[in-house]
Subunit: 241 residues, 2 copies
Amino acid sequence: MAHPHAHPHTENHLTSSAVLQDIVIGLSDGLTVPFALAAGLSGAVASSGLVITAGLAEIVAGSIAMGLGGYLAGRTEVEHYEAELKREYDEVARVPETERAEVDELLAEIGLSEATRVLAVRELTADPDQWVRFMMKYELGLEKPDPRQAPKSAFTIAGAYVVGGLIPLSAYFVTATPAEGLLWSALITLVCLLVFGYFRSRLTGQPPVMGALKMAGVGSLAAGAAYLVAKLIASGGHFGI
Amino acid sequence: MAHPHAHPHTENHLTSSAVLQDIVIGLSDGLTVPFALAAGLSGAVASSGLVITAGLAEIVAGSIAMGLGGYLAGRTEVEHYEAELKREYDEVARVPETERAEVDELLAEIGLSEATRVLAVRELTADPDQWVRFMMKYELGLEKPDPRQAPKSAFTIAGAYVVGGLIPLSAYFVTATPAEGLLWSALITLVCLLVFGYFRSRLTGQPPVMGALKMAGVGSLAAGAAYLVAKLIASGGHFGI
């Protein structure tokens, strides 16, 4: 969960690209976690119905947590931007000398001489809107967020999580035993992880074959570890199935 | 999953704050998803052992997906920065006039007059290192990532996810039935979500009481929906437990 965007420093604000990014976020987790949970339970229980129940419960829980969580995070970001904008306008009006010194410092950092800075600071701070825009972007590193982005993101991420999660689970619907379900689930999911990892890397300009292998590696490791843990508990006899 | 950082535009690079941010990411998901899954299964199965098995499998799967996924995302970010840095150095050497025009454009955007821009461009581009640093930060919006951050982040996020997930699950260890487990799990987890939501909002400067209620709301909604779905499947009689 959360991987492709744990520490992003860049963001493309084109709408199509934001949607694609949200699909990637939802699919990355959706393909991985429900798959690993179903695989884990396959080694511990005798009923495919149980694997399906747990899998669907996970998909519902995960998609709501991701979608609603993403929505609230987006709202918070909009509020944070507005609060900072208000504060910058306030500071520019109240303590212009301090703010002018901050502009001067930023310009010194990029290598301008004192003489050029005097001119640049005067021009840059002539218009309060322009001044505040500069402070928001270059001092605080804040871009104006689109308030309509948060609900759209929430739906896209949650939807992609559901689609991703149903892929590994579908195998258990059409097979008789959890063992058989696991076999087909692992096959289908590995292919999807490879394909998805390939295109995700192409999208971000990374080596695509390596990206495919990484994605499949994360899924396999998570599934393998979940399988071992569930098997261990089941063989410990905590419950008789 | 992934909520507090779905679309972050700011980042504090202080190490202590990065660790805190990773703990918040791991705890947000760890407290929510395993709780909701366990709650969902509590309405569908008769054995607490099953709830515990599924819960532990989910914690293992989720922490690996988040931790390893976060690690790989961090590595990708470092590689991306290095590739862009190389490209900028290359462009500055190969097509200096194009790059100089880009600097001029950025300076025009922030409101500098043509006369000042002539001086500023000359000074800024006098040193290639300084020039490239400017392009990386102001044209591409890229900050130099710390290569040691990725593995540290992975461990912190995964660890926080495990801790968060064990809290709701612990109730099932000490109670006799899933129904009893659910009661205590919901109580303990709601308190933790409120407390965690409160401090998370304080940390980001948001209204803390509202943040506490939001966090508890996400957890409750995810758990309630998972409970309904699992109950529905179980009553449909897909398996006889």
